[in-house]
Amino acid sequence: MQQKDALLMSSEEETATTVEQLKGSEILLNGLIAEGVDTIFGYPGGAIMPIYDALYDYQDQLKHILVRHEQGATHAAQGYARTSGKVGVVFATSGPGATNLITGLADAQIDSTPMVCITGQVFAHLLGTDAFQETDVINITTPVTKWNYQVTDASEIAEVLAKAFHIAKTGRPGPVLIDITKNAQLQLAAYKGYQKCDHIRSYRPTPIIRNNYIEQAAALINDAKRPFVLFGQGVLLGNAEQEFKAFVEKTGIPAAWTILGAGAIPTDHPLNVGMLGMHGNYGPNVLTNECDVLIAIGMRFDDRVTGRLDKYAKQAKVIHLDIDPAEIDKNVKAHVPVWGDCKETLPLLTVLVKENKHEEWLAKFNNYSKEEFAQCIDAEINPQSGELTMGEVINQLNQLTNGDAVIVTDVGQHQMVACRYAKFNHTRSNITSGGLGTMGFALPAAIGAKFGAPNKTVVAVIGDGGFQMTLQELGTIMQSGIDVKIMILNNQFLGMVRQWQELFHDRRYSFVDITSPDFVALAKSYYIDGKKISERTELKDALKTMLDHKGSYLLEVMVTKENNVFPMVPQGCSVSEIRLK
């Protein structure tokens, strides 16, 4: 019966030989729409012109944001992906357009950000001839993509695009690049509609969960006297915030975050004991070496988190929950590997663990926290005299936003200060370049973050150095009319490098003294309002003006030149050797 139907179908199809013929570029745009894409960050050029030509007719369905540099497109797509949870999409031309994507791809790869980049390529018959604007994009991007593919025939486009989206967003997400030769963009091909991909035989994004490990993990947790949870971006990427909260609340285990995990539970949650790592909080670092069971959830034991590995949590039994089996045992040996999506594994674990409170153990964290407050936080966020500090700016900002804003940070001292002191009531609110530490990330990422979360206030916190790496994106803000608040914390230094030179290189300040243009005037030239302040008395009003302003606004805050970020785990030291000053 079924077979007969199938036969009928195929003969019907044959007689109706009017399968739609579309250009490769149109197939691509139809595919993007079918994948639910509404925003593209891009920049045109010779080899991608047919796609841009087709885009001209799709403007009501696909919003294209013209950036000022392709690197900006990648970071904007990252910001978009990180706030929206969707896949960020980038268009760029061949050659220099494509090579300008590398930093953003590397950033997305190391921070597991789902992204699909489409690059134009020279005609297939010119490949390998050193044609105008030909670069070997596939080979250049191989180490910084989860997957990449070169399309040379229009008939491949729909299937390859479907694969790209499936790979970018499933399992451990990551960036994918499709390089499409110009002939494939122009060529006509039969288009039978777009079919999403949900299976690739060689690719297993969601592993089978092994109950024996869940049981072993639960047993360890139930017997633990001093258990400690470390959580990372895996919780956000798995949309497992609720499952995570249920787990820590039932077990009463203190939980600390990596900078990409910030916001998975609110900053003020009683079990949120703070930030891990080099500039993290005192208690979480010291007590890593005192806990008896360490439960790592969706984090990868980066060296900025662990410090010296051979002195890291050696006393603890380690339970590692991760979707990527290559992460298990990579840096820290796991006694119990819980391989899987934490959205699924956490609830299974929560069922098996006993309700508990670890009051004495939690009190230890609070004691360290008090000491840290007295010795470094208080002076940083509540200074009564002297120049403004970065910490007080962030603290004041918290009071005005109530922790509801999306904070996008660049890289350096201001980043560490913002991550330490910004308050997050919501998930997907701390957008920062973690693994790659890409200066220049914040401004374009903030643009994308706002497109991804249009109803939120988006504040980009940027250093005077990093702002000058991608400031051309002010043009993108101007032209798109997007509303982002730009806060430059100007210490007149490449501050983080200066801090290291002060502490570890005998104050030999080698090329960290950076001068800046008149940022406010620069913003004005892009028709963006702004103000520069340097007095404590002006701070609150200036922040209020920035937040209340209709549209984008740039606030430059002059801060102490030579402040250091503390606490600090010096490189090569153990987390328990963290210094408060």
Partner: protein
């Protein structure tokens, strides 16, 4: 425990889709970690459309295990195994070109063939090409002998290896093709042997 930290030869078998660009994606996993590939062979496998890489590296098991996981993580890689030399049957093929006149004058060709298991592939007036197949020591031994007789050219192939304990890939592939994988596809060498692997 000790043996884990000791460098030795490992045979890595990688089952993959047959796709352009995969070779470099695989190669950079080694080069990024500054690991030297001793030998690399790509060939079809027992299953149509599935490719098989044989890679030999001299490393500790710890490093090899991490590399194997990174390999298996690649989208187009289906499965990765690593084995010591004792766990596999392996062979390398070597060709030797020597001047025919010297060989004919000085060497008892028959004896050579017998002792080294060699075979003459081509005999021409000007040169003769011998072939041997075997382990590295065997193919090397003949080089030493033939050097004395004006060895003109020598080349050895990459290693091919068959895993003694393997059932092949046919049933595994079926599992991979299913949307809901069964155990074979979902298995992970390392996670399955938790006791052995995850002790410190």
């Amino acid at each position: 425990m000790e043996s884990k930290l000791e460098k030795k030869e490992f045979n890595i078998t990688v089952y993959t889709e047959n796709q352009v660009g995969l070779l470099s994606r695989i190669a950079i996993i080694f080069s990024r970690r500054k690991l030297n590939i001793e030998s690399l062979n790509t060939s079809p496998s027992e299953v149509e459309s599935i490719h098989r890489f044989n890679i030999v590296i001299n490393e500790t098991e710890e490093v090899v295990r991490k590399v194997a996981r990174q390999l298996e993580k690649q989208v187009e890689v289906l499965k990765v195994y690593y084995n010591t030399n004792e766990d596999v049957i392996w062979q390398e093929l070597a060709l030797y070109k020597v001047p025919t006149e010297i060989i004919a004058e000085h060497v008892s060709v028959e004896r050579l063939l017998r002792e080294y298991g060699a075979r003459a592939v081509v005999i021409r007036k000007d040169y003769t090409v011998f072939e041997t197949t075997g382990h590295r020591e065997e193919t090397d031994a003949l080089v030493v002998v033939l050097q004395q007789y004006g060895l003109i050219e020598f080349v050895r192939s990459a290693r091919v290896a068959i895993i003694k304990a393997s059932d092949g890939f046919h049933t595994k592939l079926k599992q991979f093709e299913n949307r809901e994988p069964g155990e074979p596809a979902a298995e992970n060498e390392y996670l399955n042997n938790g006791d052995k692997v995850f002790t410190m």
